[in-house]
Amino acid sequence: MGKNEESFLSYYNQFKDKIYNYFLYRVGFDKSLAEDLSSEVFIKAFKSFESFDKSKKFQSWIYVIAHNHLVNHYKISNRIVPFDAAENLLPSQENGGEIRYEVARVLKIISLMEETDREILRLRFVDDLNNQEIAEVLDKEEGSVRTQLSRSLSKLRKILDDKQEK
């Protein structure tokens, strides 16, 4: 096996779960669809791996491919995706009742926020990308990502606090 193929397979092993989660949170937690999309993205990435600039981060590259693939998927399927359907992925009551309650509450609130807020929160907290990586995926300046993230977090915190007071 050539070095190219070998390094791609090693990247695949490293990022398969991350890309799967990326889709899972963006297709209404439809596991089967998230798996199909992950598969398509890795095949697509493999076919164009020769064009990948090895001096850059693979993570940013594969997320950009996943992002574009998802945009195309939305265009074709024309679906609106709920964000709070993650209940079945949460830990069971016996394993962590309190966490489950808090996470479910936060997910519900996020699902009511605007798509720009939702996306930046997902990229930061589900996909574990840092500001620079988010900037690369969204094709934005790092500074603007930082501002947007802080704004989205403040919005979320405010809604949660307001709801708690009520």
Binding site: E5, K31, S39, F42, K47, F125, L156
Partner: protein, 260 residues
Amino acid sequence: MDNLEEILSSLPKNKISWQTDKKIKIKLYALILKKKIGGLFVYKNNAIGISLSYKAAGIALSIILLFGATSIYAYANNDILPGSQLYPLKKAIEKIEEKIAITPAAKISAYEKFSNRRLQEAVNLSEQKNKATENIKKNIEAEVENNEAVTSSINKLDEKKAEKAVYKIKKQDQDELRSLEIIEARASAKNDQEVLEKVKEAKENIKNREYKQNKEEKKNKENYKDAKDQEQQLMESGSVDEVDKDKKSKKEDKENKRKK
């Protein structure tokens, strides 16, 4: 809410199912194999060569169906080394590949690939902490054998095709020499005299590889050199007339032959 970021960081993260993981891997290995099989028979202008590549793909596919993704993994992976449980499977696929390579062009391509592969495996073996002297030696021997098979197949080609093949092989010879140098450096660090000896033989074998047209060129050059030496000797002995006579008699011989 003070612990908001903590809660957000604990959002559930799932793993891809093993079935899907396997499916994706099979697809990727199939793409790798397609890439490799596609390059099996290099002489694309040759119609037989093209039909053989379909046959090769068919047989490879049968093996994949029989052994699953493991066979693709074993076939295309230079990390599957002698001693590994998958190594016999890798060799079995190569045997089939060798059997279906009927034309000299297909044989050249297959043997050259096996030769490179054996050497790459030897490089990987030499990287291991433990001495793998016997396996490295075997692989270098296999590399030499495959190279000899390449040479003999080249000599069966017509002049034009042989010239093309030699040009390509010479480039690959440089890669092989580089790999041998890596093995040599590692063997030298481990003071592995047996491997060093084998590397030396293999290097000489590559440097002394001779092909049909090379042999003819060499023969012509030798004949020319002999003639020049003879002429020089006669000149030195002072008998320039004799040289002239000799030249004249050669010319006459040629003319007589033409007349005949």
